[in-house]
Amino acid sequence: MMTRDFNTQLDEALELVRQGASTETVVRAFPDAAELIGVAQRLQILAPTPALSLADGRRRFLNEAARLDARRVSTVNLFGRWLSRSAFAALAIALLVLVVGATITLAAGGVFPILAPAPTATITPTAVPTSSPTPQATLTPEPSITPEPSQTPVLTKRLSTPLAPAMLPTDKPTMAPTMTPSAMPAMMPTAMPTAMPSMAPTRQATMMPTHQPTMMPTRRPAMQPTTMSTRHPTMPHP
């Protein structure tokens, strides 16, 4: 504590001398610091310095600054060129990865039109020319979901309505959009009460294509008109 106090006193005394106060006055005010003030005063003999020539140094300094600045500009230009090339390459690679990834993803989902099996419109009005005079009758035969004869008229009535364009297999290769409840509001209660009562139309179309042949005419390319005509030879027409 004592030393710190003396440090402060000495500093105050030296500051007074520095500001121009006479040495005698300062020594009277700080008698303990008198000797050290004397040493500090002796050091002032070193204060005068010769006239140092700084012009050459200034010129060298500014030349060096200009040289460094020019080098920095050229470095920035080189870096910019390199960066533009790198950015172009990175962009090309990113696009390639994006396209390949999207292709693989869509193909895996079976929704890519090119990779998915082409829909075949096998159900045509000419498939059952003998069983029914109208084309609507050819769409109805389904052995698996019409086990009971009593349901047949209902199913027939439902399917006898004109097909919406969205249901045509040639228009939409995927079944999900075409089998929405809004497109066929009457199908759920009538067409599948016993076969799959709890399944939604869209799920039936995507998850169980083989169990719902009537819902997915495009997935049954092997449907034979002869079988359909023999199973429902007397399908009444509304």
Partner: protein, 175 residues
Amino acid sequence: MADFSLSGLGEIYDLYAPKISRYIYHRLGDQALAEDLTSEVFVHFLCSRTSPDNLSAFLYRIAHNLIVGYLRRHPACLPLDEQLIAEQGDPERHAEMELERTRLRRLLTRLTPEQQQVIVLKFLGGLSNAEVGEVLGKPESAVKALQHRALENLRGMLAAEAPRSRQLELVGQMK
């Protein structure tokens, strides 16, 4: 390198170079060396990648590092400065003053580097305690303590040399 225009760099040099060169001169005692190292200080500043908050303290630190590097490579020499002698009128008085300077410089070199810095920056460079603290990277209280110890050491060395000086003086009178 800090972003300065050439004119800005010129102003910086004009503002700080005289102080830095005086500092180097008082530490090394060689005029030509002080000029060369001053130039080196500013080239180092150009090559530095930082923009210091306190440019003055930054330049003094570069100067100090250059001085330390120089003293490591070369033994400390304190040449008699002919120019200072030429500025004086009375040759005998000039010689006495120069001897005193030489002695003080030699004693200064016996102090620790930090004590030397405090003495040169404060008593010869005219920096305040706060400025010296920024150069040294120490609080003002530490600067005051260093100042006290430096002056105490100098006083002790001067007192130790006084009898020998008195003896030499008496020998000279006898001759």
